[in-house]
């Protein structure tokens, strides 16, 4: 298929394809970060993670409509406010869910899966009742659309750059919060030994609630960012959930670095295969490869070897 193209053409295509892979990578990281916190740190299998993302997307949509109607002059900047609101909305819902549901189930991880699946059904129907069954289109400010010409032949989409920048920022923020902040230390203490952490005066319930809220809030921001590239509908969240879990599990659930590395591996593999094969087959092969590798290395790619 390359026969007819000059070397510089090919170079440009590979550059753009690499960039496409990077965008996919950012998307995966955004999807998986929240889950890595919830699943990796807390051991909760949140099947409603996709629905928390979609909540963020709907918040973005509402914000954009509100700005168009009442503050059209500020419309170019609405996206930042929308993302903050998405974080707050999803995070708050997450904390509510933790309080009502999850905290009763910490000792039964498989049951969190079933309960959150029930939650996801309820949320889907709630979205459908409130926002209608149809998809909603989120209008973006003009500056976020279009692409930037890098060289004569290479151009990169602006929203792709935006998503990548956002991913880097959020990842750094999460890394800071979990690794360096006092609160992050508490989170890790609770993860390692709940009883001990409680005994030294950490309010474990509060830590759990905020951790879950943080994970869901990040899901909300991811959902907000996805309005730039994907669709917003009541059931759109379900599309993401398997991919997201695979990214987290493949990375070795407990490690953030692993999640990022795994998102990178999977996205590059998939976008390369997509280039040579049809989209459907690329997807099948990627999933198969992940499953096969997980069978050989169940602890995931980057899990630490620990004494059991």
């Amino acid at each position: 298929m390359f026969g007819d193209y000059s070397l510089s053409d090919l170079g440009a295509i590979f550059a753009m394809q690499g960039f496409a892979g990077l965008i996919l990578f950012s998307v995966y990281v955004l999807m998986a970060l929240g889950l890595a916190i919830i699943f990796g740190q807390m051991g909760v299998i949140n099947m409603a993670h996709g629905e928390f993302m979609i909540l963020g997307a709907y918040v973005t949509w509402m914000t954009s409509s509100a700005f168009q109607q009442y503050l059209p002059s500020l419309f170019p900047g609405y996206f930042f406010i929308a993302m903050s609101l998405a974080f707050i909305a999803s995070g708050a819902l997450g904390m509510l869910v933790e309080w009502a549901l999850i905290r009763h189930l910490y000792k039964r991880p498989l049951d969190t899966l079933l309960a959150t699946w029930g939650l996801s059904l309820i949320l889907q129907q709630a979205y459908r009742s409130v926002f209608g069954a149809r998809e909603v289109g989120v209008e973006l400010p003009e500056w976020m659309m279009g692409s930037k010409q890098v060289t004569d032949t290479i151009e990169v989409p602006i929203n792709g750059i935006f998503v990548m920048g956002l991913t880097v920022l959020i990842t750094l923020a999460v890394a800071y919060i979990l690794v360096f902040s006092r609160w992050g230390k508490q989170v890790r203490a609770v993860v390692q030994n709940r009883v001990m952490a409680g005994a030294v005066g950490i309010n474990t319930e509060k830590v759990d609630r905020y951790t879950f809220g943080l994970g869901c809030g990040i899901a909300g921001v991811a959902g907000s960012a996805f309005t730039m590239i994907g669709s917003t509908g009541p059931t759109a969240g379900q599309l993401y959930i398997v991919d997201t879990f695979l990214v987290v599990v493949f990375g070795g659930a407990a490690s953030l670095v692993g999640t990022i590395a795994s998102a990178f591996t999977i996205s590059q593999a998939q976008s390369t295969m997509e280039f040579f094969l049809s989209g459907s087959m690329a997807k099948v092969l990627t999933l198969l490869a992940i499953v096969a590798i997980l069978m050989m290395r169940p602890q995931g790619l980057f899990a630490l070897k620990v004494r059991k």
């Binding site: 630490l304 070897k305 620990v306 004494r307 059991k308």
Partner: protein
């Protein structure tokens, strides 16, 4: 027996055993030998690698290098259940019994027959099984609690049940990890009596902190420190070893 240099009268020969977790050598080039009908106690401070040694022998943890020979069979290459079938039994530190099953069923599962999938499908609870279960139950002071679900038992009773489960396997080498930890004084005495009874006719490897108890039963004591042998010999010898006194007994 391909390996000719192994002295025949050793039941268990551990040589050059090493395991590392991410570079940390929990057990480092460890060698020791256990004879038939010997009772060996391993002592040492916390983190010395005592439990890890048992884990390595029973296959729970994979060795990094070294060899473990049991009756001339290389255990490091076998799976856990094959090691059990070869004649090694292991009791864990915390009692691990099946709480959703009755005492009878707990013991029955350990009865060394019908251990394959097909075998367990066709397993019959015949007179031999019942007799043996009752015999062991009597030994572990649970004869009248055969129909009790294990979650109803006290901590000490659970420990006994687990010992009973090992007993019914009839292993040649019995490994016990702190068998009297967490027991009341009266239970402790009963346990010592029980152990004294069951260690006859087999080799036993015990980890224990209770020095009185150790003195009572040990033929030979191995002192571990930082994954290596600090001292080995009779209790008397070990007690007077200045190295041991410094790191362990002296505290």
């Amino acid at each position: 027996m391909l390996i000719g240099h192994q002295p025949k009268d050793f039941l268990l020969a551990v040589s050059g055993l090493t395991v590392s977790f991410d570079g940390f050598k929990a057990v480092n080039d460890l060698s020791f030998y256990v004879e038939d009908n010997e009772i060996r106690v391993i002592i040492g401070p916390n983190g010395a690698g005592k439990t890890t040694v048992l884990d390595l022998i029973c296959g729970k943890t994979k060795t990094t290098s070294g060899s473990i020979q049991f009756r001339g069979q290389e255990l490091t290459r076998l799976r856990e259940n094959e090691i059990v079938q070869a004649g090694v039994g292991r009791k864990f530190q915390t009692p691990s019994v099946f709480e959703d099953l009755t005492v009878f069923e707990n013991l029955e599962i350990s009865f060394p027959r019908g251990r394959t999938v097909f075998g367990s499908l066709t397993f019959q609870r015949d007179a031999a099984v019942k007799q043996r279960v009752e015999e062991v139950a009597e030994m572990i002071f649970l004869k009248d609690r055969l129909d009790t679900y294990a979650d109803q038992l006290s901590h000490g009773q659970k420990q006994w049940l687990e010992i009973g489960m090992l007993l019914i396997q009839d292993p040649d080498l019995l490994m016990l990890d702190e068998p009297v930890a967490g027991m009341s004084v009266s239970e402790r005495a009963k346990t010592a009596e029980l152990l004294n009874r069951i260690i006859k006719g087999r080799s036993v490897l015990v980890i224990e902190h209770d020095m009185k108890f150790v003195e009572d039963i040990a033929h030979k004591v191995t002192v571990l420190h930082q994954g290596q042998i600090l001292s080995e010999g009779t209790m008397e010898h070990v007690k007077n070893d200045p190295k041991v006194i410094e790191v362990y007994l002296g505290h």
